[in-house]
Every structure is written in structure tokens, then in C-alpha cells.
């Protein structure tokens, strides 16, 4: 369980990133923070592994304030996936995945063997293990980033716009892969994105943020779509977009779902 207790972050120059943000992320659930730039979503994420220290309030993991924990040890206990993969360009794929186990004292040989297993787990060919990150595609690099985050089998995964820099088709593949992994692993995930569709697809719970980390609405994806709290959320999730306004039309005795432009998107099954 991760708790944000009225955390704030004001930078020395007076810039406010986050103001009085409170949230409980239950264990084994994935919570998506979604908002545009300036919403403080990445800042909130980085407070969990102490890459950013709050200027007010506290962040606690299983009841223990992270400020009291050794930052290096804390970070090694949390899986972290970054937008551009954040892989070390001078290490092979296997060594990148094995980073945290090796830092924790696992023998390199064993860590590499386990890394090869993880490579398959995230849907990559083990032969890629000896390559350097620059030899992989963007989507492959992101998969390696996910494998690295899983290498020490952490309870918590922090994902900072992990699929933001890849093309839409690959992004969709990566999202499906993550959903499949999460169904297996049941990690506690905080996922940050500016993409509403991604949030609705991946979150058990979605938190829509305004500027400075003010919560506009939180709920399950269905709740957010069914009843947007206000115009901001309605606008942000695109509740009025044609592809979200589905109606049902009878065709040959079947119920066909049709979007706002009249284009059929699927068939309802009773």
C-alpha cells in the first residue's frame, strides 16, 4: 500500500508542482495518474522513490514514511520504468536487466541467467540479450526497461510515461503485454500518463489530475466514463468525442454498437 498524505512540492524559485495531494494506492492494484503537463504527475511518482523530496506532507509505503528510508535501498526495492527506457547505453541488454540484482550482490553469472528468463517473459527473443540498447527498436527498449524493473521481483512498480515515445501500434502491444504481466504478477503499480485511452485501458483505478496535482476525479475507468465529475474531466476524457458516444442499432436481429459518426464499432453479446 502506498499512501500520499497531503504532499506538496514547491521548488526554491517558488514554482509549485504539487499542492496538498492525498491518495491511497492499495496493494496489488494498478492506479493510473493521468493529466496534462503541469499536473505534477511525474513529480508525485518520483516522490515514492525519493527522486523528488516533498516540501510538505509525507509518502508512506505500508505505513512507513519513505523519508526515513535509505534512498538507495528504497530505489532498489522498487521497480522503475522510464519514458525512454533509461537503459545504460554501454551495457548489454542482459546486464541492463541484471542491474539491480548485481547491485544487491547477486553473482553476475546467475543474474544474467535470470535476466535471460525475464527477456522471454516480456516477449523478447533471448538472442537480443547480448546486444546494446542502441541496437534495439524503441518498443524493444521499453520491454527491456520493464524486464529490468521486474528483475529484483519488487512489490511496487513505478511507471513514468513508459510507452509515451513509441508509435501507437507498438504502444498498444506494450499495453497488452503489461496487462498480461500484471494479471500474472499482481504488483502494486503507479502508472503515469497523459494518454486517457492508456489510462482507461491499464488502470484498476484512474486518477484525473488538474494543475498542481489537484484531483479532478478518481474512480474505475467505467465510473469515469459513465459520470465525469465536471466539465474538466468530461473534456479531458473526451466524453463527448464521437468514438465515445455509442448507440445501439438493430441489424439482422443483432445489436450493433455504433459511434457518434455512425460507424459500427462492434456487436453486443447478450
Amino acid at each position: 500500500m502506498i499512501e500520499f498524505e497531503s504532499v506538496s512540492k514547491t521548488y526554491p524559485d517558488g514554482t509549485v508542482a504539487v499542492e496538498e495531494f492525498s491518495l491511497v494506492v492499495p496493494s496489488h492494484r494498478s492506479v493510473v495518474l493521468v493529466g496534462s503537463s503541469g499536473s505534477g504527475k511525474s513529480t508525485l511518482l518520483q516522490m515514492v522513490n525519493r527522486m523528488v523530496e516533498p516540501t510538505g506532507g509525507r509518502v508512506a509505503i505500508d505505513g512507513e514514511d519513505v523519508a526515513g528510508r535509505d534512498a538507495v535501498g528504497l530505489r532498489r526495492s522498487i521497480g522503475y520504468v522510464l519514458q525512454h527506457g533509461g537503459l545504460l547505453p554501454h551495457r548489454t541488454v542482459l546486464d541492463n536487466i541484471a542491474t539491480v540484482p548485481v547491485l544487491n550482490g547477486t553473482r553476475r553469472r546467475r543474474a544474467r541467467t535470470e535476466a535471460a528468463g525475464l527477456l522471454e517473459r516480456v516477449g523478447l527473443d533471448p538472442s537480443l540479450g547480448r546486444r546494446y540498447p542502441s541496437q534495439l527498436s524503441g518498443g524493444q527498449q521499453q520491454r527491456v526497461g520493464v524486464a529490468r524493473a521486474l528483475a529484483s521481483d519488487p512489490n511496487i512498480l513505478l511507471m513514468d510515461e513508459p510507452f509515451g515515445a513509441v508509435d501507437p501500434i507498438v504502444r498498444r502491444e506494450l499495453q497488452d503485454e503489461l496487462a498480461r504481466l500484471q494479471a500474472d504478477l499482481g504488483k502494486t503499480i503507479i502508472f503515469v500518463t497523459h494518454d486517457v485511452d492508456e489510462a482507461l485501458r491499464l488502470g484498476d483505478e484512474v486518477v484525473v489530475l488538474r494543475r498542481h496535482g489537484v484531483i479532478a476525479q478518481r474512480g474505475t475507468p467505467a465510473e469515469i466514463l459513465a459520470s465525469p465529475a465536471d466539465d474538466f474531466v468530461r473534456d479531458f476524457v473526451g466524453a463527448d468525442r464521437e468514438e465515445r458516444r455509442l448507440t445501439v442499432r438493430k441489424v439482422d436481429g443483432r445489436d450493433v454498437a455504433v459511434d457518434g459518426t455512425g460507424r459500427p464499432v462492434g456487436v453486443l453479446h447478450p
Binding site: 538507495v72 530505489r75 522510464l82 547491485l103 527473443d125 537480443l128 541496437q135 524493444q140
Partner: protein, 222 residues
Amino acid sequence: MTWLALSWEYVLELTRDHLLLSVPAVLLSVLIAVPIGRLANRRRVLGGLVTGAATLMYAIPALPLLIIIPAVFGFPLRSSATVVTALTVYGVALLVRTAADAFGSVDAEVRDAALAVGHSPRSVFWHVDLPLAIPVLLSGTRVVAVSTVSLVTIGALIGVPGLGSLLTDGFQRGITEEVAVGVVATIVVALVLDGLLLAAGRALTPWARTPRRSAKTAGGAR
């Protein structure tokens, strides 16, 4: 080629002396310039002052330097320690700015990512900053090596033997061939050291010479 035929053993001996003066000076320059460069990279104001001062050292004329160093460090005037120290001063002067740039060339995003996944700051230096700075550091070191090998010849002016001895001796005794041999041997030594550094650099940075990905051959994601 009569002079060389008679004196090749002497030339080999001087080449060895030359290497014993220049290699330690290059190593010391790297060992001193890299930490200063790192500091300069982390602290802009201090760094600007230090690199500026270091670069000025290169403007000190060689002969006075060879006389100041024994006075400051207490070495005998005609000792290899004096020559190595003088060459190290020049080497550091040449290398400090490049060393600062080398650390500046490391992608801040990569450093942050390394910290975020659990490298300690010390481990980031050894495992991220230093290896990624190698290509730029190495190009600076190659300049220092070549420059040092050619500067070692001034040691002959204060009577410390090296290939420079062939130049001074050849001039005094009017043996053109001896001077020519001294010049050529110095260039050969510089080229060999440069080649060795280039090879070492390639061995140390295997990631830098891998072919870039081509979308068609990389495959693997299902």
C-alpha cells in the same frame, strides 16, 4: 646511413629513455586532469576558474618551468623527475578542459535513470559517468600523448637523455643524419603511442562500435 648503422644501439637506448619520461607523464596527466575535470563539470563557477588557470599553465615557457620545478619540488635540476613533472603540468593543462567536456557529454537522463533504479552516487560515477566519458577523454589523451612525446625532447636542454639528445648532439657536432634520426624516431614513437591508445579505446568501448539497429534485421518482439 653510416651514423645510424654505428649508433642504433644508442638510439634504442634513447627511445627507451624517451618512453620512460613520456608514458609516466601522460598517465599522471590523466590521473590528475580527470578528477579536476569531473569537479569542474559539477561546479560551474569553480570549474571555470580551475580550467582557466589550468589552461594558462600551458603558456608557461618550457625553460623557466624546468628551472622552477626543481626549486619548488626539491628535485635535482638534471633529473627525470623534473622533466616528468614539467610534462605533466603541460599535459594537465591540455587535458582538464577536455575532461570537463567528457563528463558534460554524459546524458543527464541516463545518469538520473541509473540513480532512480538504485545506483548510489559513487556507483554512478564508476559505472556510468566514467565509462561514458571514455570516448571524449580518450581523444583528449591522444592529443596529450602526441604532444608529450614531442615535448620530451626539451629534456635534452637540461641534460636529461631522450631522443632530444640526438637533436642537441647532432646540431652541436654538425651531424645532419643524427638530427634527422631524432626527428623521425620521435614521430614514430608518437604514432605508436597514439595507435596503442586508439586500440585501448576501442577495447574499452565495445558499445560504441556496434552497428546501429536496422529495423529489418532486429526482429524479436512478438
